[in-house]
Amino acid sequence: MTDDETAPAADTQPISLDLLVILRHPPHGSSWLREGVDVALVAAAFGQAVGLLFQGDGVFALVEGQGAGPLGQKGTHAQLAMLEMYDIERLWVSASALRARGLTLADLALPALALEADEIDHLVHAQPRTLLF
């Protein structure tokens, strides 16, 4: 079912963070993604261990080559570049969401791990707190 680029990561099952933020909305068309990442950044700044799971159209947030909008409105690409600075290094993406959109991990601007459905189930249930945007 999985090829090289969407191989499940062996180390994802037991990880428990303080907060998992699930991002389901695409960038640009609304501010869901941006305001969701804001919560992740602030939680990290408050010393919480935070991870991000991209599902559905949320995987488009990671597509390489994005820019600002035509009226200079910021996309999420600049914001995502701040993740590492805030020690948010756990990025997961839904493997099925990638497949449905014709994307592979090679299309993404940041390193992420692709998870199949059962792994997403395990990941979500290992977290004490989860917010969805």
Partner: protein, 96 residues
């Protein structure tokens, strides 16, 4: 053990899919607002992934005229029951 809250109609099937990826064997799904329409028999396919562990909020189903039309497998809970579900399940996650 997790309570999932869902408020969108089955027309938004992408949400139902994403929810199904995160839905665990001991989880429960509560349909509120426009998700009540998923409790119609014609929408049974949209709930197939949730193994009968599905409730619908009575007052939202009632205002939509759905109380007499619900699928057999879906439990009806009132607002007090909604609160009780959030108390019983240690965590909840809202899908929209």
């Amino acid at each position: 053990m997790m309570l999932h809250l869902l408020n969108r109609s089955p027309q938004f099937d992408g949400i139902y899919w994403d929810l199904s990826e995160a839905f665990g064997a001991e989880d429960h799904l509560l349909l509120i607002e426009d998700a009540c329409y998923a409790a119609l028999p014609a929408a049974a396919a949209s709930l197939a992934a949730f193994g009968g562990r599905v409730s619908v909020l009575s007052e939202d189903a009632a205002s939509r005229g759905l109380l007499d039309r619900l699928s057999d497998g879906v439990t009806v809970v009132d607002m007090a029951g909604f609160v009780a579900l959030t108390a019983t399940f240690p965590r909840s996650l809202s899908w929209f």
